[in-house]
Amino acid sequence: MSTPLSIAKKQFFEPANLTDQDLVRILDSMLSRSIDAADLYFQHSYHESWVLEDGIVKDASYSVDSGVGIRAMSGEKTGFAYSDELIMPALTQAASAAQTIARVGGKNVCKAWKKANPPMRYMIKNPFDFIDEKSKVALLQKVDQVARNESTMITHVTATLASVYDIVLIAGTDGTFVADVRPLLRFNVSVIAEKNGKRERASAGGGGRVGFDFFIDEDRASDYAKEAVRQALINLDAQPAPAGPMPVVLGSGWPGILLHEAVGHGLEGDFNRKGTSAFSNRLGQMVASPLCTVVDDGTLPDRRGSLTVDDEGCPTQKTVLIENGRLTGYLLDKLNAKLMGMPSTGNGRRESYAHLPMPRMTNTFMLAGQSNPEEIIASVKKGIYAVNFGGGQVDITSGKFVFSASEAYLIRDGKIDCPVKGATLIGSGPDVMQKISMVGNDLKLDPGVGVCGKDGQSVPVGVGQPTLKIDEITVGGTQV
């Protein structure tokens, strides 16, 4: 039976006749130059995407990218180089460049490789295996029809089917020797609706570390089309949004980007080691209302943000960041864990072999509370109910974060009233988290479309939350 390790060895070792011993030689040669630790990250990445527009599949592309990232660490210093050639001379050259970081000094030894068999969090086969090109085209065309049949106001439909199949192998002087095979699929539908000269765009989609059949089962792909149309039609009737501080009820699922921005980034280990985060030195303190328990969990099966092992070879885990309002943990990679005297939480991630790993989120969400979602909305006299969002951003130092609603409604006297135009919400993480006064019993994770950016590196992530109420946050509408 093929395992991630056998697939990875076949991919990386066989073509260039590399052996385990070659890797040991490279790592050993780096340690002899007074490096504390070094690692190699082999990656072979296969991308495929199919795009439908104007009712026809106009373009598709295949893409192959592979290489090895070589990192050498000496205290807080990191040297990094990479090669897109998987042959010994190129690897040796990159290793020599990476170890430029070392100071002259003692000598460390490469630890024997530990046999690692972390539990697998997803299938290891290519998500497009057993599916021919005709089925991909047929699915896109079906989705186009579904969207157009939903409403005559739809003037434009774009549908995209994209897949990534990643094979990675990580070998380190700390004894790490592990491989992972990572499928990742995503389907997206974007529509433009027009009524009386007014136009609106909306999009919907989903995916995960799953196979192509994910979109066929339960007719998920058609649901994305219907959802995109529903949002576009609602926004055609949206009124200008109010401006100023007011109560806001956030829907379950994707609005969990609240936690990603307000809490998650601020708890990444690098910022806290350097003391640059609004959450620095606050372990053990109350940083949210007692109703809030927030976790980062990379072990959830088949989720977009899940990983069997992180990009440093550490198995992922469920890390409790905030428990009943108290700050209990940071997100750590190996470097920051070592410098902070804590164990890695399996959150060392990188965009590719050509980027350095750093602490990143996986699936970040808030656990369910006691309240009924209806009861939460009914408790608001005048405010906003926001159920869909575009992106968000945070300044981890001041704690200020924003996230932009793409589907929202006014709440009047405890009832959902008219839809309002998209508006940006702004607040300070520790402040807003204290103002969460009701948490629903309806925890939901997002459909699998999240991308997180940090220092120019993008990685797939997940978010989630139950319906919740923030007593006061600033809504950036136009109605002053």
Binding site: I192, T276, L356
Partner: protein, 454 residues
């Protein structure tokens, strides 16, 4: 450090790479033809460089980058297929072309697809002066970054640092298509940046500054970058709340380019043919005050966005997108041009050096006086921009102005409006042009926007 590989030591490397990429492109064009493609186009690129980060006086990271990529598109009549790889071996290139040809069997014929029209392809290649390799050692790069961080940390309000960095890259791109065109361009990019923190009581703030240039000798001295960074960071301490209100908003030059970028997006072909822009059907209509023009200068020497041909090989040329406030030209590649029954404007892949001109440019101090009372925005957050409707709502930080003078820093507010109205309400443009990017403008004053605060 016991090793100091010098970057760009061998100046022949870039020319050898350029020749190698050209050979690859010719090879693959032939290959595509032999596989029956009626048309083909290929883009190949390569770059290498160095980036160093220092923090609290010591090296944090030292990275050696080397990237290459290759993308082929084939057309079988009007069915299209694409593939790309970073492996330049013959086998990998052959596989990529075959994969692209295979895809074209399954995609639908599209009457608007195909290469750019042959008569638009570039045939004139003025020298753009983009290649200025920096013969810097890693030790010197580290020292320069340290100078910048040290200068910032000398400021009395600066308590912590997120580090300073220096990066230097050289690269080349080659594009060829079956109109017998093969063009290439080599260039360098160098940048230095610094980010520090200031603390006062419970309040913690950070800010950054950077410079970027084609020629390293055009960069600001590192000490100056550090000093500007420290001054900007310290000036953010002492934040006061702002009430929800309508008020004039002054977009400072470094972020005003974002506003112009939204305008460029709204007049881009891909949004226009989908009817997905608030500026759809606005050609030859007034969209800015008549004092303002927006020009594209693709052939500027040392320009950040300079290019003789666009990503389809079409000749770039100087033009006004907006002339005296009137929309004079869209940005079109050949696909969107055909969709709109127009001609490519040499903008496949984007713009090449955009500059905002005004009949009367005003100094930043005078802009503040002119505004009298309002909000200077120095930082924007989030993605609340809807190009279909023009609706705009973003997080903002900056300074509150009264009687023409800065009063105190502000953060945690939003500014909102509609881009179509905001563009018409531009009342002045500053002479403080930010020259660090592909889109260059001075500060922009907008008469009134909704500010949401307390």
């Amino acid at each position: 450090m016991n090793q100091s590989p010098k970057l760009f030591e061998d100046k022949n490397v870039i020319h050898a790479k350029e020749a190698e990429l050209k050979d690859l492109v010719s090879y693959v064009l032939e290959k595509a033809k032999s596989l029956g493609a009626t048309e083909a186009e290929i883009g190949a690129s390569w770059y290498q460089g160095l980036s160093v980060n220092v923090r609290m006086g010591d090296v944090e990271t030292l990275e050696f980058n080397r990237d290459q990529g290759f993308a082929v598109t084939v057309f079988f009549n009007q069915s299209k297929g694409s593939a790309s790889t970073n492996d330049f071996s013959k086998t990998a290139l052959d596989d990529a072309v075959k994969a692209a040809c295979n895809i074209a069997k399954f995609t639908s014929p599209d009457p608007y697809a195909g290469l750019a029209d042959a008569n638009l392809i570039a045939n004139n290649f003025p020298e753009l002066d983009l290649y200025h390799p920096w013969p810097i050692s890693t030790e010197d790069a580290i020292e320069l970054a340290q100078c910048s961080e040290n200068a910032a940390r000398e400021h009395e309000k600066i308590t912590n640092s997120d580090g300073a960095s220096l990066s230097s890259h050289q690269g080349c791109r080659v594009y060829g298509n079956s109109h017998q065109f093969i063009g290439s361009q080599i260039g360098t990019r160098h940048s230095m940046s610094c980010m520090v923190l200031a603390k006062q009581g419970d309040e913690m703030q950070r800010d950054y500054w950077y410079d970027s240039a084609r020629d390293y000798s055009d960069l600001l001295p590192p000490q100056e970058i550090g000093a500007i960074c420290a001054k900007r960071t310290a000036s953010r301490l002492g934040v006061k709340p702002l009430n929800t209100q309508h008020a004039p908003v002054l977009f400072s030059a470094p972020i005003a380019s974002g506003l112009i970028n939204h305008l460029i997006s709204a007049i881009s072909g891909s949004n226009l043919y989908k009817n997905a822009s608030f500026l759809n059907k606005h050609l030859h209509k007034q969209i800015l005050p008549e004092e303002i023009s927006i020009v594209e200068n693709p052939h500027l020497r040392k320009g950040h966005g300079s290019a003789n041909f666009d990503s389809e090989g079409v000749a770039t040329y100087k033009k006004y997108f907006i002339h005296n406030g009137v929309l004079d030209s869209y940005l079109l590649g050949s696909y969107s041009a055909r969709k709109l029954a127009m001609k490519s404007t040499g903008n496949a892949g984007g713009v090449h050096n955009v500059l905002v001109e005004a009949t009367n440019l005003i100094s930043f101090d005078n802009l503040c006086k002119h505004m009298h009372k309002g909000f200077i925005v120095t930082e924007l957050m989030g993605h609340g921009i809807n190009i279909v409707t023009g609706d705009y709502s973003r997080g903002a930080a900056g300074f509150w102005v009264e009687n023409g003078e800065v009063q105190y820093p502000v953060q945690g507010v939003t500014i909102a409006g509609n881009l179509a109205e905001m563009f018409k309400q531009i009342t002045a443009v500053g002479s403080d042009v930010d020259y660090r990017g592909n889109i260059q403008t001075g500060s922009i004053l907008i008469d009134s926007m909704a500010i949401a605060g307390n």
